[in-house]
């Protein structure tokens, strides 16, 4: 998983398949870096074409860690089938979702 820091925002680029293997490959790093960063984060999902419920659990856990510390995890680049899963699970009401990382970064910059 590619991780980069842009100003004060940590950006995770998630892999194509967030199935059991995909989640196992990124979850420890995501958890560790989210806990250490304690701030603004973006999950770039533009490459993701499969999401299992385990992946939603991982994202929700990260959000639950971030928010009480004043941070946030925002989602960008959802492909249409994945956006549909976010809608069906009502995850679109839990996360702020943007078309791309530029839009999410701009909103962090302008509105915190």
């Amino acid at each position: 998983m590619n991780v980069e820091q842009i100003d004060d925002v940590l950006v995770f680029t998630l892999p194509q398949r967030l199935d059991a293997n995909g989640v196992a490959a990124v979850e420890p790093q995501l958890a560790q870096q989210a806990a250490a960063h304690r701030g603004k984060m973006i999950a770039d999902m533009s490459e993701v074409n499969f999401v299992a419920s385990l992946a939603l659990r991982m994202l929700l856990t990260t959000l639950k860690v971030a928010q009480p510390l004043g941070g946030d995890l925002r989602i960008v680049g959802l492909q249409p089938p994945i956006a549909e899963i976010f809608r069906k699970s009502r995850f679109d009401t839990l996360f702020k979702i943007y078309p791309d990382r530029a839009a999410a970064l701009a909103d962090y910059q302008n509105n915190g």
């Binding site: 199935d19 385990l54 639950k64 009480p68």
Partner: protein, 138 residues
Amino acid sequence: MRQHIEVPGEWASISTLLAFTDSLEACEVLSHEQCYLLRLVIEEIATNIVKYGYIEQPPGPIQVTCEYHASRLAITIRDRGRPFDPRDHPLPDFTSATAERSIGGLGLYFVCEMADDVHYHHDPTSGWNELIVTKAST
């Protein structure tokens, strides 16, 4: 097209089943939605069989059969664990705030939402559970 695999009902088998879905996907017969559903069935149903089905007994088999005929995919998943009809599972929590939100039942919900039909049968004589998930190409 008919493909069949049997694996032990244990965690290490999930990777084997995912590789089985990779090989079916590579055949380029199934539609994108059918491939997605197959992967989801392996992820959510097979994982549940390992996690709950065989919890009170030594792991038995998981059999997965995929049949594709006239643009229709039928995925049959069989096991001899504790009976469990996914259609009886309560709906997931859609309304709680972030801190209280749980994702229990979400995987099963996705399978039922994406499939055209989900049929479950438990045979008390043999002990086999059989779940048949079907989806036509769109």
